[in-house]
């Protein structure tokens, strides 16, 4: 009889630690411990939050991936910034009704670009070696599609934002799954058991912030995609050729910017 109840407690504990209902879990643990010794209560209830934990060093592969993420995102946002600059300089005066739309999207891209610039200098990541090329290429792409017509410019936006959105999603998937590192108590320096962690402290604020940044930016990029479709992107004449061609160019640029 007692054997059965013990194993049941055990499975309950395991279930608790798997699902994130930490309050239940702590309760179950407390009741179990109290039967052994009632003095340990205080230690058991200790709640870990952002301030009293530190995190183990990232592995070489994890660092290398973050290195790439910041470099490619910086180069990408620089590209986006300059594409809108090219579009704006051609279209803004020709089509006054597009001016605020383009300005809004451009401003957001400038904000994204500045954010990644800051991350690049703070985390000491090297920028892409081909930065001058990205600048010229992006402004050329923006201006040349805009010269074809406003529909073509919008088709260019569709292609670029599709690739960027997909790429951000891919990064989020990796950041979500591959960045578990050991968590330590700040005062004692002891490694925390899995049951003591909770959702709040599972990932370090550093990684969490990066994820939130990428999420926000991805949502804004996809908003730009919607805006472009609302402004007749699909009426561009060789729509498929144009978008697929630009997508291909963007993928090649991403591949290169990650490495060089």
């Amino acid at each position: 009889m007692s054997m059965i109840s013990k194993s049941r407690v055990g499975t309950q504990l395991a279930k608790c630690s798997r699902s994130f209902t930490t309050s239940h879990c702590r309760f179950a643990k407390k009741s179990k411990k109290s039967s052994d010794s009632s003095d340990d209560l205080e230690e058991v209830v200790k709640k870990y939050h952002g301030e009293n934990v530190t995190y183990g060093e990232l592995s070489k592969a994890q660092k290398a991936y973050l290195d790439r993420v910041i470099r490619v995102d910086q180069a990408g946002e620089l590209g986006a910034n300059y594409i809108y600059m090219g579009q704006y300089s051609v279209l803004a005066n020709k089509y006054p009704h597009l001016k605020p739309v383009l300005q809004h999207m451009w401003d957001q891209e400038i904000h994204h670009h500045n954010t990644f610039n800051k991350l690049q200098t703070q985390r000491r990541v090297r920028p892409s070696l081909l930065t001058p090329l990205w600048k010229i290429g992006a402004i050329g792409l923006g201006a040349s599609t805009a010269l074809i017509g406003k529909e073509a410019a919008m088709a260019c936006t569709v292609a670029v934002e599709t690739v960027i959105g997909g790429h951000y999603n891919q990064q989020l998937r990796v950041l979500m799954n591959q960045y578990d590192s050991p968590i330590y108590d700040k005062e004692t320096g002891e490694k925390l058991a899995e049951s003591d962690t909770n959702k709040e402290i599972e990932t370090s604020p550093e990684i969490e912030d990066l994820k939130q940044t990428i999420k926000t930016f991805r949502d804004q990029e996809l908003e730009h995609l919607d805006t472009a479709i609302q402004h007749d992107a699909e009426k561009a004449v060789p729509y498929i050729v144009l978008t697929e061609g630009i997508k291909l160019v963007c993928r090649a640029a991403i591949w290169t910017a990650e490495r060089v």
Partner: protein, 250 residues
Amino acid sequence: MIRTGIRASRSVVSRPLTFVRSYQSKDHTISNGESLESKILTKSLEFVPTYGFNSTCITKAIRELNYPDSLSSIINTDGSSPEFKLVSYWLSHSRKILEDHAKDPQSKEFHSLTNQYERVGYLIKKRLELNEPIIKHLTYGISQLIVPYNITKSMEELHNLSDDIAFYAGDESNDFAWYSKRMGISTIYVTSELYQLTDTSSNFKNTKKFVDEKVSHFQGLGSAYNDVEQWSAFNAISLINLIKSQLVRG
């Protein structure tokens, strides 16, 4: 004990071959602690002013720390000579001292400098000061660094140094300037160090003057580049406007 020593030392030895350090984390800071190898090498550095960059220093350090003599074999697990090991460890150790100095809120003189280039000059001079106690062995040390087999590692160390100097001087460049700045700092450092080798003035006064001159040249170069860039952007825009006005006239 020996086995853990080797495992730990490998993490120190096998650095990536790219010439810049990777991502610096803000929150993930707990590291695995000092390895046996770096303990021995740190101790060895105390003997360098007397014996030069020589394997004697390592032997002395092992004796001093009461380790078995056979431990000297863990120093060259990656196939490089003990002399080179000692020189390159000395370089990274001095870089660490410089970094600690730059981070230390107590170093008032450094933090009172606001100009980025003055800070670069200050850090280079500070780093050259660390050469002073071993200056008579430095020629031999440099000759170890430029052996073809070692050159990739020494270049990596040099670029790490210039990256540190640029970062702590407050460099915030995001484009190609990032590379040219680091290249410039490396060049200044190497030439100044070669100058220091032949400098006989008291307290290396001439070397310090040399560094200041080089850094101000470098600053001039940077602003010249910016001026040219601004000038060409201005001309490009006015060219476009000229073409536009001609088109409107028909």
